[in-house]
Symmetry: C2
DNA sequence: GCCATAAAGCTAACCCTATTAGCCAACGCC
DNA sequence: GGCGTTGGCTAATAGGGTTAGCTTTATGGC
């Protein structure tokens, strides 16, 4: 009986592909094992269990997203960088409907790769905000605002929450333009 | 053997309480049945199944949220109304960590109560935006932006996504202030 | 008051997923 | 070529959801 020759990387990579096809909720060890041509319990040689698998998938997706955000913002500044990054963000979420929700898991402190990926993603946002002259507490608030707006939009869109016929692209464009305006006069009012 | 005397309302209400305690993901028919002092299959006399239960829970939570948003905005206008509504939104999500995520399910078209609840919630937002002079497509875009920002913030907060020590209340306040600024000059740029 | 019927509960059985234990065989190294 | 490591397997357990079919309670018409 020849071996399939799996390792953790391959298992997680296939899990990511499967998640994108069927959705993160429907990602099941049974289906994954079937995909890999292996019996279900064999997966336990490579991952600790279902939860650990998703955590690893989160690390992978976060790293991918961080890279795409960084690339998008490279060589741009201010509103240009913001728009490019926002587009990259939404684009990733739409191309990877299964991986994207996994990126919202908080990184496992025991997984250095995961932690680094998370820092890279936040760092990319920070860099864009620096272009608006934001640092310190203001940058923290602005980062949270940006993440909230992008994540909120993208997840409502994925959930089918936008019923009306009005073009979603236009709405996203407006949202990002609104963020640009806000960041220009950040912090918006005195506490 | 005396009857417990359940009905769908009671089952869904208890499901909502349980979800708030253990999380929507951990809401299980088995646990719910135990709570209600009934065997698991008995629940099928009142709900079609696990998925239908969550959909009913979504209808309940959406109705509650719509009411709270409407109440918060009543008697206020402009930035005042926006802030009151945003506070009510986050407050609901924090008081009801299990119900809140259920509100993001798209309403079941076959459930008139659910549909109405969804319309009331969106209507409350629309009313606030009318205070900014927004109507038509602009209001659609602004509604999506507002929902995205609030939902994004609240769900990142619930997921523990805000690691830094910076006060979360302050960040939320800034986010809402930023929305206020944006809505004042909406639409932000020409398409 | 009585009985027919609908509704509310039950048990039993089945399927699917995750997990653990323990066995066996393939691969890699010396 | 032996031999340890390790990647795969089967079997078994537990938990959740679902369906079928039975029993008993409440209820309403007469």
């Amino acid at each position: 009986m020849p071996r399939v020759g799996l390792n953790q990387r391959a298992v997680v990579a296939e899990a990511a592909r499967l998640a994108d096809e069927v959705g993160l909720q429907q990602l099941t060890l049974a289906a994954l094992a079937g995909r890999l041509g292996v019996a279900l319990p064999s997966l336990y040689k490579h991952v600790r269990g279902a939860d650990a698998l998703i955590q690893k998938l989160s690390a992978l997706a976060t790293a991918e997203l961080a890279t795409e955000l960084t690339t998008a913002a490279a060589g741009r500044a201010g509103g240009d960088a913001l728009r490019a990054m926002a587009d990259a963000y939404r684009d990733y979420a739409r191309r990877h409907p299964g991986r994207y929700p996994a990126t919202q898991r908080v990184p496992d402190p025991a997984d250095p790769e995961h932690v680094v990926a998370g820092e890279r993603a936040v760092g990319a946002i920070y860099a864009v905000l620096r272009g608006y002259g934001l640092t310190g507490d203001d940058a923290v608030d602005a980062t949270r605002a940006l993440r909230s707006a992008l994540h909120g939009f993208v997840s409502l869109e994925a959930a089918g929450g936008f019923g009306l016929p009005r073009e979603v692209d236009r709405s996203y464009h407006q949202l990002v333009a609104g963020l640009d305006v806000s960041f220009r006069s950040w912090p918006v009012d005195a506490p």
